[in-house]
Every structure is written in C-alpha cells, then in structure tokens.
Symmetry: C2
Subunit: 342 residues, 2 copies
C-alpha cells in the first residue's frame, strides 16, 4: 500500500490495516454490529482514534440510502415575516428535535418563485431523508409541488388547500379562539372586537371563525367588530386605531397574534384606554418572550411550537421506518393562559 500523504483523510481500509483486521471487521466494530470480538473492536476503535478517522458520509449514504439529514422548509411568499417569533421558535425546535433523533437540520427558505424550483430540485436530489414544511399561505404553490416528491413530507399547519393524502400537524386554532373569546364573555365583556390575521392563511381564518362563532353562540353580534392586519406590530397598532374609531365603546379585543397585540396595546395606551380596565386584551401564540413581558402581561392562547415539531418529527421517523403510515391530520390542543390583560 502506498503511504498516504499526511493531509489525506484516512479511509476505513486504512483503519483496518492499522488495526490488523479486515475492512469488514472494522466496519462492524465502528457501527457496533454483532459478531465482533472484544479484542478486534478494541483495536479498531483505537486505530480510528489514532488516525483521526471519520467516515465518509457520501460513501455511506450511497449504499445505505440514508443521509441523516432532514430539511425544514419555511415558505413565506412575502418574505417579510421570517423573523417573527413563531418561525424562530420553529427553527430552534426543529434543530433540537432533529438532533435528538440523530438527524441534522437543513434549513430552507423559500420566498420567491425561483426558490420553488431550486427547493424542489434540492429535495429531489436525495440530499435529505425527509422534509418538514411550514407553508401557511393557502395560495402557496409549494405544498402541491412537494406532494409529488419521492421523499416523505410532513406539514406543520394547514398545507395550502391540500386536505387529504398528506401528513399534517396543526394546532386547534378555532378551539383556541373560542377559549379566549369565551373567557372574555364570561368576564362580562359585551363589545368584543377582533384583530384578525391575514385571511389568506389557514390559521388566522380559523381563529377569526372561532371568534365569530363564540360571539354568535353568546348572542352577541360580531358585525363591524373585526379588522384584518398582517401579523406585524405596526399592523396591529393600525388595526386597533381603526377599531377604536369605528367602535369607540368596545370593551375587549381578541388579537390573532401576540405581536399584533403588542401594537394594539401601544395604540390603546396612546388613546388613554386602560388595559384591562377599559379594554380587555387576549391574544394568540403565548410567545414565551413577548406575552409575559408586556405591560400588562398578555392573556394569550398557548401553543407550543416545540410540541408541534416533536410530533412532526415522530411522524416523519415512522414514515422513514415503513412508508405504510396512513396520512392524517393531527390536531394539537391549545390552552388559555390568563394574565393581567384580560
């Protein structure tokens, strides 16, 4: 065997030679397979350590057909919301949960149209074993494109307008809204407005529906009490202004996200309305850094992105083991965390 130059990476063959065993035995020892004597295993491990061996992943995944990588796709056609707290939480949770099952996260942002082609090409290329997709917009073409993929896919939140044949893990958005609005009703509020999220996304649509249904059930009229905003702080502030102007006597507002609630609080305070004295505020997300830090702290519907991601990962793992898992939508429960704001 020609002496390898120093900077050349050692191969399994090198380790085997160094340990005085065969390539097969070395492989078995390294992957702690069965049928290796303690003595051989010992020698191989020592050789690997001494040589600074680390297996060539390309070679390995060429034969195992596994890469050990999972893609997390964040699709946001408008490109502006990618630093919202929920997304951040999803990324962090994705990283952790995947690491826990021994997988590496490959993050993919998919904003623009040409991104779509590139994304599909990449996922198609066998770089990853599976995909977790967050694509909230109903008109997003991505989910449809991904259905054709030869790679298992699990969606986080409603996948565009796909209903069946896909694996989805979603929160009970409508139920959460009902929880919050019921709480406002029960504490005696009667003019309960809402700041809804963008109505081209599934979650905000469901939250708006929950608000409307709860009011109707309570014999209250929702007419004129809703305003749509774009999930940003500024959007929440503007929507709150509009509501105050149109409905000066409102005594509560259900806001479809914490971030917008922060904007609403700002407007309310500028307008001299006391929270919760004059106006009660309840929102959605229960973001760990945002909700408790406000003045007053926000009453908010708690959803745990980490739990969502964990569920998605577990479905994906089952999909990888055997692809005979019936596609289904899984709905995670949410709860109301009552704080000072309402």
């Amino acid at each position: 065997m020609a002496p390898r130059s120093e900077d050349e990476r050692p191969t399994l063959e090198d380790v085997a030679a160094f340990a005085g065993v065969s390539r097969s035995t070395a492989s078995r020892a390294l992957n702690d397979d069965t049928y290796v004597s303690a003595r051989s295993r010992e020698k191989v491990l020592a050789a690997a350590r001494d040589l600074g061996y680390s297996p060539n992943q390309a070679a390995r995944s060429l034969v195992t057909r596994r890469t050990g990588a999972i893609a997390v796709v964040l699709s946001e056609p408008e490109a502006r919301l990618l630093d919202d707290p929920y997304r951040t939480a999803v990324m962090r949770a994705g990283y952790r949960e995947l690491a826990d099952v021994g997988c590496q996260m490959v993050l993919i942002f998919s904003d623009t149209r040409e991104d779509l082609a590139r994304t599909v090409r990449f996922l198609e290329g066998g770089h990853v074993d599976g995909v977790l997709v967050f694509a909230p917009h109903r008109t997003d073409p991505l989910p449809r494109a991904l259905r054709l993929l030869r790679v298992p896919v699990v969606f986080g939140g409603q996948a565009a307008d796909l209903r069946r044949g896909v694996h989805v893990v979603d929160f009970d958005n409508e139920g959460g809204a009902r929880l919050a609005v019921s709480h406002l009703v029960e504490s005696g509020r009667r003019r309960i407005a809402t700041i809804a999220g963008p109505q081209d996304q599934g979650a905000p649509i469901a939250r708006l529906a929950g608000w409307r249904a709860t009011l109707t059930d309570a014999g209250l009229d929702p007419a004129g009490l809703s305003e749509e905003a774009d999930f940003t702080l500024a959007g929440g502030a503007t929507a709150m202004s509009a509501l105050l102007q149109r409905v000066p006597d409102l005594d509560a507002v259900f806001v479809a996200s914490d971030m917008m609630a922060v904007g609403a609080l700002r407007t309310l305070s500028a307008a001299g309305r006391d929270v919760p004295g004059d106006v009660a505020v309840a929102s959605f997300d229960d973001n760990a850094t945002l909700a408790p830090a406000m003045t007053p702290p926000l009453t908010s519907v708690h959803q745990d992105p980490r739990e969502q991601v964990r569920t998605m990962v577990s479905i994906l793992m089952r999909l990888l083991d055997g692809p005979d898992l019936e596609p289904a939508a899984q709905v995670l429960p949410v709860s109301l965390v009552v704080r000072e704001s309402g």
Copy 2:
C-alpha cells in the same frame, strides 16, 4: 436489463439507455461538459426529463469530493440571544448568498457543551465543503476546535481569542463607536454615557473602547459614565435607569445595540426625559426594522450583515478553489446614519 420497478429512482445508466447513448455521454450532457454533439445532448436531456431523473448526490460527491453544502454555525453558549435581529439577518443573508453561488446552507446551532462535540463530528464527517462561523464569545471553545478541522473555515466577527491563522470578516466596531460618539460631541453634548454590551464578546469590547477613546480625545472624562448590559431590551432599560440615577445630568448616551437602545428609550420616556431634547441617543447596528421605527427614529451605526456574509462567502469560495489563500482579518467599514434621536 431488468425492468426497473416504478418507484425506483432512475439512475444515470437508465437515462443513458433510454437516450441510446453511453453513461459517459449522458454524464457529459447533463453536466454540460464539452465534446457532446447537440443531438446527443438533446436526447439525454429529453430522457432525463421523461424519466424524472435527478442525480444521486451521494454518488456524485463521493467522487467529486464536493457536497455543495456549506455549514453556517451560530454559537451562543447562553442560548438566549438566538432570536436577536442580527442573527436573524445573518441567517437570511447566509441562505441567500450561498444560494447565489449554488450552495445549500446547513444551519447549525451550537449552544451547549455536548453540542460542541456533535458539531465537530458533523463538520468533520464531510457533510459540507466549508464552514461559516459566528461565535462572538471570547471564551467559546468552538473556534479553537474548528481550527483543527480539515475543512475551510471563515469566521464572522472576532473568533474567540484567535488572532492569526484564521480567516475573519469583522466590522469596524471601534471606528463605528468613534463615529457615533464624535457626532454626539460635535452636536454639543458633554455628558455622554454609554450602555455597553457584554464584555466577554469582542464587538462590545471594541465599541466600548471606541466610546472611551473618543471622550478622552475630546477632553471629556468617561469615569462613571458606562453601564454594561446584555444586549436585550430589558437589559438596556435597566442599564439606562442605573445611569440616570448615577448621572442625572447626562445629556447623551451611546448604546451598543439597537435592541438595548429601545429599552433605553423606554426608560427615558418613563423618566420624562425628552429625546433628543434632554438626552441624545445613538446606537449600533442600524437594524432595518428597529432603528427607523422607533420614536424618535434612532441615530445608529450602520453595519450590513449581508455584506459581511457576502465577503465571507467569497473568501470561502476562493479557499475551495485553492487552499493557498493567506489567512487574514478583513475589516468592513461602517457608517453613521443620523436620525432624530441624536
């Protein structure tokens, strides 16, 4: 040739057979190599399209020794700052810039100690062609560990206490601080305090030094005028309170980050101090969403994370072409954006 089952992924061999050419010719056509007739190329491309062929990346990178993936490592030993605006900007920029050179970003968060081992193992495993590292903390063991890697590494911002032998792209933190403080001095301020960032990180240290040097140069005494905080909004607010209490007659404050400046503004407003009437505020980062949106809009030192990442990527690309690039620190200039706050 045995007929392949439907769900089996077609290989290059299949495409070649379908197109009636050899594997070599098919490969040449697909990688638009030289010496392929237009006719053959046409046929191969059509075959690939019809069969839904996409190359097996593992096989490809086994022989080319390129994966087309670049890791972006965000190391934050304290795990709390990962959703700060700068990090978010870095991630987005990393994704875009790498996509532009045809590379896929593999994001790696490295918080805890066991993350370190896993991270090193992963990077060592040949999953990626190169690494971009953001590890601001001087005590972070990661940069040191990465030096031993057989993979090109470029650091964003000072890499712990490593000085030579590494590729670094940093901003002119001290120069930026000088810019901001000089501006305050020139507009007639005399009691110029500072809210510094964590002094276990290179950037905040340099910013504090810039502030101190500028004051001294102007014949002003910096003693007692600085307060350290942790780059968070709440930290900025608290530090501002402390400063106001200790130095009631301060007429300006240089804050080491936009986020802390937001906290400081809040405290100032609560204390009834007019900005910039009573107290001028200048900060660092010029975060696109934060700085202009404040009341009043923040005067801030502009640094462009995207440019930093672009520079890092370009260095990395040169490193990949030929490893004979002299390691050096590259310092990017910053500028002062003057707005209403000071």
